[in-house]
Amino acid sequence: MMRTLDKYAAIFPVLVVYAVLFLLGLNMSGMWQLMATLLFYCALGQAFNIFLGMTGYVDFGYVAFVGMGTYGMAVTITSLAGTGLGGLTIIAGYIMALAFSGLLSLAVGAVALRLRGAYFAIATIGVNEGLRFLIEGTNLWGGSGGIIFTRQLNDILGKDASSALATFWADVLVLIIAVLAAITTIVYMRSKIGYALTALREDEDAAKVMGINVTMFKILAFMTSACFAGLLGATAWALKTPYVFPPEVFEIHYTIEAIIIVMLGGAGTLLGPVAGGLIYGIGKYVLSIVLPGFQLLIFAPLIIIIIVAFPDGVVGGIRNKFGHTALGRFIL
């Protein structure tokens, strides 16, 4: 029992931070929407980190999975509106979102994961952009006109419920996704998958020689990460944002944000995405209020300084310093 606790001790700081965020948002006036944004960034980082952190592979087209999840939910809502399924539609939407992002990740994983380093990163960009232009070029799902479905959502859930969903419950769901992603991360890290992937990250060829089924574990981590992205898209970009326009859901900038969040916190750490998400989200928010129009000019050099000062990320840096102390077991 103690050993199990010890093994998973590192999850507690993460849960504490999420709980604090949740309570702050709930109790301080005007903070809920900010907390929702912070939670989104944390969840994005947490989900992205499952694959990037453990394997070291940079999936630059990661946003495609978020986008496919968004489409999964949006397509379900628009096609099931009027069938009287009510709340079941949302569940069906989640299943579709998982199916869309899961299938895409399976296809991409089976094919692109044979590539390494920059080649892999660029192949995933190709997937993301190709998918966007396929949707626009063939007028699939409304093409570039997108889907706007507030009305359908209102029909399904009723106006009050759908409004509560967009302004509150979707954010709670984002929180749940973030927590689930964090738990998945630590379970993976503490299991055979984690050890195999660590071996892979250090030296893929050596890991292969030692008889580790590299491909299977890679695809597993890749698909897990992609499915969380799909859930996140279905929640934060469909339920909270009842429209889909292809250029917005396939915007590569979100992948870059995910990388920033993971990097700022520390890739491959459990607490990293939380720390990164908070630094990134709060920094941007404060600057946009204090210096509207100039925040990027301040923010950009600031990030570069942080990267130079903490090449392993903030959590990575702290771990290097305190990892051997009694606190160490809580920092992962």
């Binding site: 005007g30 706007i148 209102n154 326009f245 928010y285 209020i289």
Partner: protein
């Protein structure tokens, strides 16, 4: 050593940022009425965003100084403007609107820019029963979603090219062949849909209809195909850079049509600066342009109440409130007119309560330097008509509707070869 200093500085900075985060909103005086705006001052909509902020500041200043404030029950209230930068990003839009409503306690929220960002904010404002005024989201579908508090000042996208088609039907009824080529974006496609339907209604023959992807840097394949369809005139566009590209490559190919009308880009001074005489005779629909002739007299003729600065006053107020090199375009005017609409709405309602003001805005009809303003029961703008400009001798002339004309349209426009030799479009 350096690293330690850097670490400490960062820690101090982060701590400072956190303190700021929880600092209470600026205590605004009770008697003032506050407009909140998650503007797009950076990111992809920065250009329109800067314009909108300038226009709003100009009209807020006018309301406070010239108009003397907004009167509710005989008491005058000053307008205040609270602006943050949403970086043209949806995540920031919601968190900033959340702050504006609950911390800064604004009385009305103006939308960011674009249909997407407007839609992103709507659930938040709706759930707070907060009036949400839209000066930058033109998608008609916004007003089919059943929002109660969204009120539009910018006109709907489907109406952009209607005036142009009306004009050509009247001045050249024999020219039936129209080509449509728009950017593949939600906004431009909606314009195309409106143009196509209206063209068919008026009996035009749509001989070519294609889109091009956003961010395109060579339109020749599309223009080659369009040229083969031999249109009399061309309607198209989408954004800024593609519109400039459109005209410049038509010139490169010496592809001449009798009229070319481009949305968004063609109406801006930068269009002529970038293209020089190649821009001569090119037209564009616009919500507002410097030189429109809406005035107190024209309001009287139509029997509408008039409010706001005259056009000259607006332009000088705009310059006072922005960088001196900036000239107001329609993004500024529509955002400014929205301030005036809100001021009238509050006076009419006798309260800043969103429900009452929303109702008052529903009944409101007025005219300002921006033109008419009237919304239907869904909040969609129906009272504002667009104007069509044409570049004539390096100046923007208003050629349509006839009531706003400052010059007759030049049709057909000079060919690119003629323009290359210095020909300008001047009406006979």
């Amino acid at each position: 050593m350096m690293k330690h200093v850097a670490e400490r500085c960062l820690a101090a900075l982060l701590a400072g940022l956190c303190l700021l985060l929880f600092a209470p909103g600026t205590g605004l005086a009770q008697s003032s009425i506050v407009i909140g705006h998650p503007a797009c001052l950076s990111g992809k909509y920065a250009k329109a965003g800067e314009q909108a902020v300038g226009g709003i500041k100009a009209c807020v200043q006018w309301v406070n100084q010239e108009y003397g404030g907004i009167s509710i029950d005989g008491e005058k209230h000053k307008l205040e403007y609270k602006v943050y930068d949403s970086e043209s990003k949806k995540e920031s839009v919601t968190s900033l609107i959340g702050r504006l409503i609950t911390v800064d306690k604004v009385d009305v929220v103006f939308s960011a820019y674009s249909s997407g960002l407007t839609l992103r904010g709507a659930p938040i404002t709706e759930s707070h029963n907060m009036l949400y005024m839209d000066h930058g989201g033109a998608n008609n579908k916004i007003f089919e979603q059943g929002f109660d508090y969204v009120v539009q000042t910018i006109g709907p996208a489907t109406s952009y090219h209607k005036g142009t088609l009306d004009m050509i039907k009247q001045i050249a009824p024999e020219d039936k062949r129209v080509a449509l080529a728009y950017e593949d974006s939600e906004f431009a496609r909606m314009v195309m849909e409106g143009a196509e339907n209206y063209a068919e209604e008026l009996g035009f023959n749509v001989v070519f209809k294609r889109t091009y992807p956003s961010g395109v840097n060579d339109l020749t394949p599309l223009l080659n195909a369009m040229k083969a369809a031999d249109p009399d005139f061309v309607l198209g566009g989408g954004h800024y850079e593609d519109g400039q590209l459109f005209c410049s490559q038509m010139a490169d190919m010496d592809f001449n049509v009798k009229a070319l009308s481009l949305i968004a880009s063609a109406t801006l001074p930068a269009f002529y600066e970038a293209l020089g005489t190649n821009a001569e005779g090119v037209m564009g629909p616009s919500h507002w342009e410097m030189g429109v002739t809406f005035s107190e007299e024209s309001a009287k003729e139509k029997g509408l109440p008039w409010i706001g600065p005259s056009q000259e006053e607006f332009i000088s107020l705009f310059k006072e409130n922005t960088d001196k090199n900036m000239k107001p375009d329609y993004h500024a005017a529509e955002a400014g007119a929205q301030v005036l609409a809100y001021a009238l709405g509050v006076e009419k309602a006798g309260s800043t309560d969103s429900d009452k003001v929303r109702k008052a805005l529903g009944d409101l009809e007025f005219m300002s330097f921006y033109g008419g303003w009237d919304v239907n029961e869904n909040g969609m703008q129906v009272g504002h008509t667009m104007v069509n400009i044409q570049w004539q001798d390096s100046k923007r002339a208003l050629v349509w509707p006839e009531s706003a004309q400052t010059s007759k349209p030049v049709y057909p426009m000079p060919t690119f070869q003629e323009k290359d030799q210095g020909a300008v479009a001047v009406p006979e």
